[in-house]
Symmetry: C2
Subunit: 174 residues, 2 copies
DNA sequence: ACGTTTGTTCAAAAAAGTTTGAACAAACGA
DNA sequence: TCGTTTGTTCAAACTTTTTTGAACAAACGT
C-alpha cells in the first residue's frame, strides 16, 4: 500500500470492529504511521487503541475492540513491548495483564532505532568489510581504484548514518 | 523478511543472474538497504548494479545482469528516477538511454524524504485536524480533556518530525 | 512503408508478509 | 486434582505486494 511501485486502490480501514468515531480515526492515523515505518497494520491498530484509551487495556479488550484474533493481539503486543512502545501496568490485584502506551516521542523513536535500524546497520557493516576485501582483490588497477572508491563511499554512508542516530534521539528527546 | 513479526527463513539472494563476486555482494548490500526503507528488492538490485558499474548501463544490461524481466527493470528505473537516485546520461549519440547512479548521500536522502516521507506527513496532518475537531465534540469533560491532550501530543510529534527533516538533510549534505 | 530496436503498460502469476485459529501451556482458585 | 481463565505458538489460510511477460507504442534506419 502506498508502495513506490503500485497504483492499486487501497483497502479501506476496517469496519468489522466495535470502534467508534474518534477511536476509529486515531487508529487510522497510527495504521498509516506504522505503515510508513514498515510495520504491520495490527501493530498500528493496537497501539492506536491503547493510545486513545483513558484506561489500560488487556489483550481481550483489543481482540474485541479491533475484531482481530487472539494470536494477532498477542504477537502485536509482543512486538510493541519489544519496541518499548507499550508497557505492562504493574500492581493491580488482577490476573490479566493490562497494557498502556508509551507516549514520549523519545522513547518511541529510541525503540524503533534500537530494534529496527541498528541491527541492519550492524549487519551492513560486516558486509561492507567483506566488500572492501573483495575490492582489493580486483587485478585491474583502474577498476580496483573505482571499486575501492565506491566501497569507501558506502562505508561513509553507514558511518554517517550511525552518527546521525544519537543526534536524532537527542533532538527528539523532550 | 526481517519483518518485526516473522521468524521465517529468508530467501537467499538470487543465483539466476550473471553477477559475479563483488557485484553480487554490492547488490546484496543494497537489497538489504532498500528493504529497510520499505522499497522492493528490484530497486535495490538495480541501484546496486548501477552503483558498482564503471560505466553507465542501459535497461537491457540490467535485465541481463540481474536476470529480471524488462517490466521490472523499466518500473524499477522509473521509481529510482522519481527518487532522484539515478539519472539518464545525456548526449551520447546512442539510441538507447543509459543510466548512472546518484551517489551523493544528500541527494539520496533528499529524494527519499521528498517522495516517501513528506507525503505521509502531509496526509497525516489533515487527519489530525479532523481528530482535533472530533475530540472537541466529546461531551464528557474529563474524557474530552484526555482526548484533547492525546491529539495535541500527536500533533506535536508530526510538527517535530517536520522540523527534523530539513535538519537531517543539512547534516547529511556533504 | 516496413522491419527492428527500445521501452512502457498492465493483467495475471508468483512471492512475500500478515492474520487466523486450534492446540498447547501456565497460573490460578475451588 | 480439576476446570477455568489467560496468553502463546505456529502451520495454514489469506492478503498484499512484486514480478513477469505478452501486447502495445514510439523512434529510428533503410
Amino acid at each position: 500500500m502506498g508502495s513506490i511501485m503500485s497504483t492499486l486502490p487501497e483497502r479501506e480501514n476496517e469496519t468489522s470492529s466495535s470502534l467508534e468515531g474518534l477511536e476509529r480515526q486515531i487508529v487510522d492515523v497510527f495504521v498509516d504511521g506504522v505503515k510508513v515505518l514498515g510495520l504491520p497494520r495490527s501493530i498500528g491498530e493496537i497501539y492506536g487503541v491503547l493510545f486513545i484509551s483513558p484506561t489500560p487495556l488487556a489483550l481481550d479488550d483489543l481482540v474485541e475492540k479491533l475484531g482481530i484474533s487472539k494470536g494477532s493481539a498477542s504477537q502485536g503486543l509482543r512486538a510493541l513491548k519489544g519496541l518499548g512502545a507499550v508497557r505492562e501496568v504493574e500492581g493491580n490485584g488482577e490476573r490479566r495483564t493490562y497494557f498502556e502506551p508509551a507516549v514520549e516521542l523519545k522513547r518511541l523513536v529510541g525503540g524503533f532505532i534500537r530494534e529496527q535500524v541498528r541491527p541492519h546497520i550492524e549487519s551492513g557493516k560486516k558486509k561492507i568489510n567483506k566488500l572492501a576485501e573483495a575490492a582489493r582483490e580486483e587485478p585491474d588497477p583502474e577498476r580496483r581504484a573505482f571499486f575501492q572508491e565506491r566501497v569507501e563511499r558506502i562505508d561513509n554512508w553507514t558511518r554517517r548514518g550511525g552518527q546521525v542516530l544519537p543526534l536524532l534521539q537527542r533532538i527528539l528527546g523532550e
